[in-house]
Symmetry: C2
Subunit: 345 residues, 2 copies
């Protein structure tokens, strides 16, 4: 009888194969992209998005992901006001929709002029949640950075990129003494396995030792690169790459190729420079942004994953995002910095 | 020598005791509150917040949490534009801040006029992520509901409630055949342990069997009540409680007390009604909202946790939120429905 019954009502077969191996990436991850805060916001205006840059970055990401380029052939995914997507969508049916078959990308963005004021005013990065101002600043910082995250997701969705905002605090990530500690990425992987593009961001998070801190987008990038092993990583920023001194200095030289050895030491391969550059001195901005970026990039490069630092919204960034600039064919007219491991692939 | 060294550099003591027992609630959880979509949004206007109601609900929550009521004594936590919080904050120092010592609450809100259009147009609740329209609808739905979540968090933060938006998809929650499956709440607990108020919401989530679905706020409430065992649960809605027929019917009677037995059956204790009410017939709205609410509420009541269904922004909701309306002192002038277990506490 039991046999008959089980024949009558077999359990429904799982239709979502990705769940069979929860937490294991079953898609090829091409690229992790950092949208630098300086590239997508107006640095000196509190909570102001650089709309033009964000739109261009989203368009280039769509092209890099090989979503069909013609406006007839992609489906905008922001159906919220005031985009007016509603009228558009009312005419769309499943049959008429183009199939999305995009390469897997992960996007992480910085905060730029979002969150910075709130965090620095209250000292969230230094911890101390028992202090009312720090607690309030933690809340205020998250409101600001999640506002930016929502706008980034909307901009990407408008271009037909199936973007899902995933906030590190909500993901349950935390730090110990400001270093990445608990970071379960199994649900980030599930999102990728289901054909979506997770959009993470620098966030205020809980810290095991000091109560709370700021987890930067650059640290997230490095952690995800270690765990997910993309083909390459692209940092989109507001300058053409890494320079030997502040790029506002007319004599600053763009460093085109930096090689990282297995012991973590590195040297500049191109151009040949007489002296070693000390980035702790030559830091491009007062927040130490470029120093962090280079040290995180070097750790990624050590894994054998090439890192490109390029100016957002240029032909150079598009080529980097498409993966055209391999170490063997860096064109003379391409402006950017590649940071790579010393091993020959 | 080792002894000497360890004396010189002892490991830093953890300053955040909650991490010592990760995932275990170490605070008393007083209440889980559902902000009904119908109460905080304008039901018939797409993506429109009922600002007046949301403000009143936030104010009442502040009062219920016993944050000092005078405007001089609480610290607004939305420092983002256009609130103008920035000027205010620039004058605040840690010394001058009032200490927050609020009872623990968890807030879950529905979607109302956010997300509904996007989900129903694309059929996200029915699954099928291989269909481009469903995938796009999933993205569009999340943009809409996370927009609402951000506005709810901002409104609460303005009132000094240390609110942190936590989106179920980002939390890694998923369903199997539309029932709650994977739901790690350890990071929700960490947030509560650190004195914050998590603000969750109905969301589009991945589903093990059908690819994706909508996880409703009511189901989240029941799950959290089971796991976290609050003193009581309050549903804030747009009518005074549960009626025996649609409340637009002039002869509709407010059901003041419903008792749920251990076997799941239930009866109306007050008022005494001749006939059993069939809520599957008497559903108050076409989406089956009230039926789901009552069946989820009954499951919570079965656990011995009293559930109050009240009209948002009224004196009745304030008394319910404050926990004044225990089963023994339901005042004659109080309007609302209490759903409780049959056991005497």
């Amino acid at each position: 009888m039991r046999g008959d019954e089980s024949e009558k009502e077999p359990p429904p077969p799982p239709q979502n194969p990705s769940f069979g191996c929860r937490g294991i990436l079953n898609r090829h991850l091409r690229c992790i992209v950092k949208l630098g805060g300086a590239a997508i916001t107006c640095k000196n205006e509190i909570e102001t998005i650089n709309e033009e840059n964000l739109k261009m970055v989203s368009l280039q990401l769509r092209r890099a992901m090989a979503i069909p380029d013609s406006s007839d052939e992609f489906l905008g995914m922001n159906w919220s006001k005031p985009d007016g997507g509603l009228d558009y969508v009312s005419e769309v049916e499943n049959d008429g929709c183009p199939k999305l078959d995009l390469d897997s990308f992960v996007i992480v963005h910085g905060a730029g002029s979002f969150g910075h004021f709130q965090a620095s005013k209250s000292g969230v990065h230094k911890g101390g949640l028992h202090l009312p101002l720090v607690k309030a600043g933690f809340v205020a910082t998250r409101i600001s950075v999640t506002s930016l995250n929502l706008e980034v997701v909307k901009a990407l969705a408008r271009e037909g990129i199936p973007s899902l905002g995933m906030s590190p605090l909500a993901c349950g990530w935390s730090t110990v003494g400001r270093n990445m500690a608990s970071a379960d990425i199994s649900h980030v992987i599930e999102v990728i396995n289901n054909g979506f593009v997770p959009v993470l961001h620098g966030d205020a998070v809980l810290d095991d030792l000091q109560g709370c801190t700021i987890l930067s987008g650059d640290v997230i990038i490095r952690y995800l690169a270690q765990q997910l092993r993309p083909d390459y990583v692209v940092f989109l920023t507001d300058v053409f790459g890494v320079y030997d001194r502040p790029p506002t200095d007319p004599s600053a030289i763009l460093l085109r190729e930096i090689v990282v050895n297995e012991d973590g030491s590195w040297h500049i391969l191109n151009p040949t420079v007489a002296e070693q550059v000390d980035f702790t001195v030559a830091a491009h901005d007062t927040t130490g942004g470029m120093v962090t970026k280079i040290s995180e990039a070097a750790m990624i490069a050590k894994l054998g994953i090439d890192v490109y630092i390029v100016k957002a919204g240029t032909s150079h960034s598009l080529r980097a995002l498409k993966g055209e600039m391999t170490r063997d064919n860096i064109a003379g007219d391409w402006l950017g910095t590649i940071i790579r491991g010393s091993k020959t692939v």
